[in-house]
C-alpha cells in the first residue's frame, strides 16, 4: 500500500497542499482584519501555493527517477488512474504551470487590489483536476478530472467581481464549457452503450475487436467536439478571447498553460487508447482527417485574427489558439509516428508552457497600481524606460515565434520534423507558413516596446516591483534558454514518456 501511495504522491501532495492552503487562508484572514498584515498574509499564500506545486512536480520527478517498474501494486488504481511516464510528464508540466501562475498571482493580485486567498486554493485544486485528467484511464475519472479542472477555471475567470468583462468572460466560458461537457458526456454514454465498457482500454479493445456501429461514430463525433472545445480549437474557440481577456492575467496564464495542457493530455489518452484501433486511426475512416483539417483551420484563422488585435492580451489569447493548432498537427502525426509524434507534442507543450507563462508574466510585470498594460499602445517605449521588463518579454515572444536559439524554436523543430517524417508534407508546409505569419504579431510587440514612443499625454505603463513576478520570469527565462541551448535531455525524457504511452 505504501508503494501505491508513493506512485500517487504527486496527486496527493497537491491535494493535501490545497486543503492546507484553504485552512491557512481561513485562519490567516482573521489577522488580516487587524490591518496591514493582510498583504503579507495573502502574498505568503502565493509562495506556499508555488512551493506545493513545485513539490508536486518534484514528487513526479522522484517517482520517475525511482522507476515505475520498481513500484509494486501500481495497478491497484489501474482502470481509474493510470500512473505511467506519460502522466508523470504531464504532472511535471501542470505543476510547473501552476507554480508559475501562483507566483504571478502573488504579484498581480496585490498590485491590483484583488488579494483574496481563494485564488491560490483554486489554482491548486484546478491543478489537481488537470493531473487527475492526465492520469485518468476511465471515462468516469476523465469526467471527474475535467469538471474539477473546469470549475476552478470558471471561478478564476470571474475572480475580478467588479469587472463586467470578467463576468462576461466567465459566463461565456461557463455556458459553453458546460455545453461541451454535456456533449462529451453524451458521447461517453453512447460509447458505453456501444461497447459496454467505461475504461478506455476496454473500449479500445472492443473497438479493435470489431464493434462498429452508428453509435460509435456518433460517440466519436461528440467526444471530438468536446475535446476540441477544451483545447479551444477553431471553430470551438469563440469563448477563448473573451475569457482570456476578461480574466485576471494570472488566471489567463493558468488557462493558457495548464488547462490547455490538461485538455491535450485528455485528448491524447482518449484518442490513443479508446479510439486507437486501426480503423478509427485510419486516414480514410477515422478521426485523423478531421483533426488535420481542424489543425489547419485553427492555426490559420487564429494567426490571421491575432495580427489584427489592438490588445496584447487578446493577441496572446489568439496566439494560444494558434499554438493549439500546431499541437493538433502533432497529434495527427501520432498515427504514423506514435513515439516521435507523441514526444514532439509533449516537448512542444513544455516549451509552450514556459514561453506563454513568461509572456503573460512579462505583461503582468508591465502594469502596476490597478493600471494594467493591455494594449500595444500601453507598451510603447517601455524598452527604453524599463529595459528590465522589456528584455524578458522579448525573449518569450521570440520563443513563441520560434526564433532560435530559444525553447520555442526546438518545439517547432521537433514537431515539424515528426510531421515530415510521418509524410504529412502539406500539413507541415502550411504550419511553416503559419509560423511565418505568426512572427508578424509577436514582432509588433517588439516594435512598440523598442521603436515607438508613447503618444503625448497617453498613460504610460509603469512596471510593478514584485519579487514573485520576477522569480516567475526568471524561472521561465532560464527554462526558455536552457531548452533552447540544450534540448536533448528533456527531449529524451519526452521520448521515453511517449514510448511508455504509445507502446
Amino acid at each position: 500500500m505504501t508503494n501505491i501511495m508513493f506512485a500517487l504522491s504527486p496527486l496527493l501532495v497537491v491535494a493535501l497542499g490545497s486543503l492546507l492552503l484553504m485552512l491557512a487562508e481561513a485562519f490567516g484572514a482573521k489577522s488580516a482584519a487587524h490591518g496591514r498584515q493582510e498583504h503579507d498574509g495573502t502574498a505568503g499564500l502565493a509562495l506556499i501555493a508555488a512551493i506545493v506545486c513545485l513539490a508536486g512536480g518534484a514528487a513526479a520527478a522522484g517517482v520517475w527517477m525511482f522507476g515505475l517498474d520498481h513500484v509494486e501494486g501500481i495497478g491497484a488504481v489501474a482502470p481509474w488512474l493510470i500512473i505511467d511516464r506519460f502522466s508523470l510528464f504531464f504532472d511535471g508540466i501542470l505543476c510547473l504551470g501552476g507554480a508559475l501562475a501562483a507566483l504571478l498571482a502573488g504579484g498581480y493580485l496585490r498590485e491590483h487590489r484583488l488579494e483574496r486567498g481563494e485564488f491560490y486554493a483554486l489554482i491548486l485544486l484546478t491543478t489537481l483536476g488537470a493531473m487527475i485528467l492526465a492520469s485518468a484511464g476511465d471515462l468516469l475519472t476523465v469526467f471527474l478530472g475535467l469538471e474539477t479542472m473546469s470549475l476552478g477555471a470558471y471561478a478564476m475567470t470571474a475572480f475580478r467581481r467588479s469587472s463586467a468583462r470578467s463576468a462576461e468572460g466567465a459566463l461565456k466560458y461557463f455556458l459553453l464549457g458546460s455545453f461541451a461537457a454535456a456533449l462529451l458526456l453524451y458521447g461517453f454514454a453512447l460509447l458505453y452503450g456501444a461497447t459496454g465498457h467505461t475504461d478506455l482500454a476496454g473500449i479500445g479493445a472492443s473497438l479493435r475487436g470489431g464493434v462498429r456501429s452508428a453509435m460509435v461514430i456518433m460517440a466519436l463525433v461528440l467526444v471530438l467536439v468536446g475535446l476540441l472545445f477544451k483545447v479551444s480549437a477553431v471553430p470551438f474557440h469563440m469563448w477563448t478571447p473573451d475569457a482570456y481577456e476578461g480574466a485576471p492575467t494570472p488566471a489567463t496564464t493558468y488557462m493558457a498553460v495548464a488547462v490547455k495542457a490538461g485538455g491535450f493530455a485528455m485528448m491524447l489518452r482518449v484518442l490513443m487508447t479508446a479510439f486507437g484501433d486501426p480503423q478509427s486511426m485510419s486516414w480514410s475512416s477515422g478521426w485523423p482527417p478531421v483533426l488535420a483539417a481542424v489543425s489547419v483551420v485553427t492555426m490559420t484563422v487564429a494567426n490571421l485574427i491575432a495580427g489584427r488585435q489592438d490588445s496584447v492580451k487578446r493577441m496572446l489569447a489568439y496566439s494560444s489558439i494558434a499554438h493549439a493548432g500546431y499541437i493538433l498537427l502533432g497529434v495527427v502525426t501520432m498515427i504514423r509516428q506514435p513515439t516521435m509524434g507523441g514526444a514532439s507534442v509533449l516537448f512542444y507543450l513544455l516549451t509552450y508552457t514556459v514561453s506563454t507563462a513568461g509572456a503573460f508574466g512579462a505583461l503582468i510585470l508591465c502594469g502596476s497600481h490597478g493600471k494594467e498594460a493591455v494594449s500595444y499602445e500601453d507598451l510603447a517605449g517601455i524598452g527604453k524606460r524599463h529595459p528590465a521588463a522589456a528584455l524578458p518579454f522579448s525573449l518569450f515572444l521570440l520563443s513563441l515565434a520560434g526564433i532560435p536559439p530559444t525553447a520555442g524554436f526546438f518545439g517547432k523543430w521537433f514537431l515539424f520534423r515528426a510531421a515530415i517524417d510521418g509524410g504529412f508534407y502539406w500539413l507541415a508546409g502550411i504550419a511553416l507558413v503559419n509560423s511565418g505569419i505568426g512572427a508578424y504579431y509577436y514582432l509588433r510587440v517588439l516594435v512598440y516596446m523598442y521603436m515607438r514612443e508613447p503618444a503625448a499625454g497617453a498613460p504610460v505603463a509603469v512596471p510593478m516591483r514584485s519579487g514573485y513576478v520576477s522569480a516567475a520570469l526568471l524561472l521561465s527565462a532560464i527554462l526558455v534558454i536552457a531548452l533552447g541551448l540544450a534540448p536533448s535531455g528533456s527531449l529524451e525524457v519526452a521520448i521515453s514518456a511517449a514510448t511508455g504511452f504509445a507502446g
Binding site: 515539424f416 515530415i420 511565418g436 512572427a439 517588439l446 521603436m451
Partner: protein, 648 residues
C-alpha cells in the same frame, strides 16, 4: 612606427603652400633613417616603412588632421603593405615549398564565432552609464576576431575544407556542431571581420542613444553571420541564419529613419518567410537521408549531399532553398524590401547589410543550392540567369538612375551588382565562379564604403536628396576625392576591385554551356549593365560635387573628420589592393571554385540525356573531400568541452 609619428608635421606650423620648416626637415631625416635601418634588416621592412611614411604624409594639413590620425593611418598602411607582401601568391608558394603549412587548430573557427557572441553577453553585464567602456569592449572584441580571422590566411585553401571541427551535439537527430572553412567562405569570413569593426567605429560618431543595445546587436550580428558562413551542418546553419535576423531587425527598427518600422517589418517578414520554407526543405532532406541510411539521421552537409532525389522532389527542395536565398540576395521580383531597409537603416546597419548580409544569399545559393541540388540548379540556371540580367543588372541599374535619394540609389545599385554575382553562379564556369566569389568581396568593400560616405553627408545635412547638393568638391575636397575613388571602384574601372570581378564574370558567362543558347546575349546584357552603372554613378558625382554651389547651407560644410577618414581609409586601400593584386585573393578561391565546377559537371554527366535523374531516391557514395570530416570525427569529439565553451 615611430618614424610615422615623427613625419607628422604639426598643423599650426604648416602654411597652405608647400613649405619645408625645420620640423618637416627633421621628420624627413627621421624617415630616411628609418628606411635605411629597415633596409639593413630586410627588403620587406623597407616597403612597409615606405608605405607607412606615405600614408602619414598624405592627409592635407589644412584640414586639421592631427598627429594621431597620421599615426593610425601609417599603422594601417604598414599592415596592409605587410598583408600584400606576405600573401602575394609567389611568396606563398615559396613558403609551402620550404616549410609545411602551419597546423590547423580545430578550435579557431569556434573562437571566431564565439568571441563576438561572448562579447555580446559581456556587454549585457556592463553598466549603460559608461558608453566609453561599452565602445572599447565592442571594438576590442571585434579587433580580436579580426586578428583570429587573419590566422585563417596562413593556410593555403586549395580544393578542400580546413579548420574542421565536428562535435556531436544531439546524437539522436544526427545534429553535429560542424564548422569548416574553404575557398568559398574564407574571404567572406575575412570580409565580415573586416567590415563590421569599421562600420562600428564609424557608427560611434553618429549613434548617441542606447549605446548598450547598439553594441549588443552589432556583436550578436557578427557572431551569427560568422556562424552561418562557417557551419556545415544544416541545422546549425539554420539556427545562425535565423539568429542574424533579430539584431538587424532591431538595428533598423530602433536607430533607423522615419519609416523605420514599416521597413524593418518588411525586412523581417520577407526573410523569415523564405527561411521557414527552407526549414521545411532541410527537414525533408534529412528525413529522406535517414530513411535511405537505415534510420541513421544526419544534418551534415556532406552527408545530405549524397541524397539524390528524383526530379520532382528535387525541384521542390531546390525551390524552397532558392527562394530563401534569392530573397536575401535580393533578386527581382523579391528585392523590394532592400531599398526600404537601406533607406531607413542607420549608416552602420546599411554597411553591414550591404557588405555582409546580402552575401549570405549568394553564398547560400552557391553552397547549398548548387552543392545539394546540382541537377535542379543546372536546369534552372538559364531561366534564373535571365532574371539576374534583366531583373537584376539592367532593371536595378535603370531603377538606380531614377532615384533622387542617394542612399536609395546605392541600394538599387546593390541589386544590380548582386545580379552579376548571381549571373556568375548560374553560368558556373571556373572563371565565373571565381569572379562571383571575388565580386562578393568587392561589392562588400565598395558598397560598404559608399554607404559610409553617404552617411557622412547625411550626418552633416540630414538629407540625402541629390538636388540639395552641388559643388561640394569646393567645400569638401577630401570627401569628394574619396567619393570619386569609390565610385570608380563601383563602376569597375580597371585598377580598382570592381573591374576584376565583373570582367571574370562576364568572360565566364560568355563561354558558359549552362545557359542554353543565351550565354552570349546574357554576357552582352551584363556588359551593358556596366555602362548603365557608369551612367548612374557618374551622374551622382556630377550632381553632388561639381557645378556651382546652389544651396547656401552647403557653403559651411566641414570636410570628413578624423573618425570618418580612419573608417574609410581601409576601404580605399582595399579597393586598390584587390584591383592591383587580385591574385592574393584568387589563389585562395581557385581550388574551391574548380572543385565546385567539377562536382557540378560530374553530377550532370551521370544522367546526360534528360539532364536530370529519374527513378527512386537513392544515396550516392561519399565524395573524396567529404571523407575528411568523417575521419576527423573522433578527433573532434575530444574538443567537445572546448567547442561548447566557445559556441555557447
Amino acid at each position: 612606427m615611430s618614424t610615422a609619428h615623427d613625419t607628422a608635421p604639426s598643423p599650426t606650423l604648416t602654411p597652405r603652400r608647400f613649405h619645408l620648416g625645420s620640423s618637416q626637415l627633421l621628420a624627413l631625416f627621421a624617415f630616411a633613417a628609418a628606411v635605411v635601418l629597415a633596409g639593413l634588416w630586410s627588403p620587406t621592412a623597407v616597403a612597409v616603412v615606405v608605405a607607412a611614411g606615405f600614408a602619414a604624409a598624405i592627409p592635407r594639413a589644412d584640414q586639421g588632421y592631427g598627429a594621431r590620425t597620421r599615426v593610425v593611418l601609417a599603422v594601417m598602411a604598414a599592415l596592409i603593405a605587410l598583408f600584400v607582401i606576405r600573401f602575394w601568391p609567389a611568396a606563398a608558394t615559396d613558403a609551402i615549398d620550404t616549410t609545411p603549412p602551419p597546423p590547423e587548430s580545430p578550435a579557431l573557427l569556434s573562437w571566431l564565432i564565439g568571441l563576438p557572441i561572448a562579447g555580446a553577453i559581456a556587454i549585457l553585464f556592463l553598466p549603460r552609464q559608461t558608453p566609453g567602456v561599452l565602445k572599447v569592449t565592442t571594438l576590442g572584441t571585434m579587433i580580436a576576431t579580426l586578428g583570429a580571422s587573419l590566422l585563417l590566411l596562413q593556410v593555403p585553401m586549395g580544393r578542400g575544407f580546413h579548420f574542421n571541427q565536428d562535435v556531436v551535439w544531439m546524437p539522436r537527430f544526427g545534429i553535429h556542431y560542424h564548422v569548416a572553412v574553404d575557398g568559398i567562405s574564407l574571404w567572406l569570413v575575412v570580409l565580415t571581420t573586416f567590415v563590421v569593426p569599421l562600420a562600428t567605429f564609424a557608427s560611434f560618431g553618429s549613434i548617441e542613444t542606447r549605446i548598450k543595445e547598439w553594441c549588443f546587436s552589432l556583436l550578436l550580428l557578427q557572431g551569427a553571420i560568422l556562424g552561418a558562413i562557417l557551419s556545415l551542418d544544416l541545422f546549425v546553419f539554420y539556427i545562425f541564419w535565423e539568429a542574424m535576423l533579430v539584431p538587424m531587425y532591431l538595428m533598423i527598427g530602433v536607430w533607423g529613419g522615419t519609416n523605420r518600422i514599416k521597413a524593418t517589418l518588411k525586412f523581417f517578414l520577407y526573410t523569415f518567410f523564405g527561411s521557414v520554407l527552407m526549414l521545411g526543405a532541410i527537414l525533408y532532406l534529412a528525413y529522406s537521408y535517414s530513411r535511405l541510411n537505415n534510420g541513421v539521421p544526419s544534418f551534415d552537409y556532406f552527408e545530405l549531399q549524397r541524397v539524390l532525389p528524383p526530379r520532382h522532389v528535387m525541384l521542390w527542395l531546390y525551390g524552397a532553398f532558392t527562394l530563401a536565398f534569392i530573397i536575401k540576395v535580393p533578386m527581382w521580383p523579391l528585392h523590394t524590401w532592400l531599398p526600404d531597409a537601406h533607406t531607413e537603416a542607420p549608416t552602420a546597419g546599411s554597411v553591414i547589410l550591404a557588405a555582409v548580409m546580402l552575401k549570405m544569399g549568394t553564398y547560400g545559393y552557391m553552397r547549398f543550392c548548387m552543392g545539394l541540388f546540382p541537377e535542379a540548379a543546372g536546369e534552372w540556371a538559364a531561366n534564373l540567369a535571365g532574371v539576374a540580367v534583366l531583373g537584376g543588372i539592367l532593371y536595378g541599374a535603370l531603377c538606380a538612375m531614377r532615384q533622387d535619394d542617394v542612399k536609395r540609389l546605392v541600394a538599387y545599385s546593390s541589386v544590380a551588382h548582386l545580379g552579376y554575382v548571381m549571373l556568375g553562379l548560374f553560368a558556373a564556369t571556373p572563371s565565373s565562379l571565381e569572379g562571383s566569389i571575388l565580386q562578393q568581396v568587392n561589392h562588400g568593400v565598395s558598397t560598404g564604403a559608399l554607404f559610409l560616405l553617404v552617411g557622412v553627408i547625411y550626418d552633416r545635412r540630414h538629407t540625402r536628396m541629390l538636388e540639395e547638393f552641388g559643388g561640394l568638391a569646393k567645400v569638401m575636397p577630401v570627401y569628394a576625392t574619396l567619393f570619386v575613388i569609390v565610385t570608380l571602384a563601383s563602376i569597375g574601372v580597371p585598377g580598382t576591385n570592381g573591374f576584376v570581378g565583373e570582367f571574370m564574370i562576364i568572360v565566364g558567362t560568355f563561354v558558359s554551356n549552362k545557359l542554353g543558347h543565351f550565354n552570349g546575349i546574357q554576357a552582352v546584357g551584363a556588359a551593358l549593365g556596366v555602362i548603365l552603372g557608369a551612367v548612374y554613378m557618374l551622374t551622382v558625382v556630377q550632381k553632388m560635387f561639381f557645378g556651382p554651389i546652389t544651396k547656401p547651407e552647403n557653403l559651411k560644410l566641414k570636410d570628413v573628420n578624423r573618425r570618418e577618414i580612419l573608417a574609410l581609409a581601409p576601404f580605399i586601400a582595399f579597393i586598390f589592393v584587390i584591383g592591383f593584386f587580385p591574385n592574393i585573393f584568387l589563389s585562395q578561391i581557385h581550388g574551391a571554385a574548380t572543385r565546385m565546377e567539377n562536382d557540378l559537371e560530374e553530377r550532370m554527366s551521370d544522367h546526360p540525356a534528360p539532364k536530370f535523374y529519374v527513378g527512386p531516391m537513392r544515396l550516392l557514395p561519399r565524395r573524396p573531400e567529404a571523407t575528411k570530416p568523417v575521419a576527423n570525427e573522433p578527433e573532434g569529439g575530444n574538443d567537445n568541452g572546448n567547442a561548447k565553451g566557445s559556441a555557447q
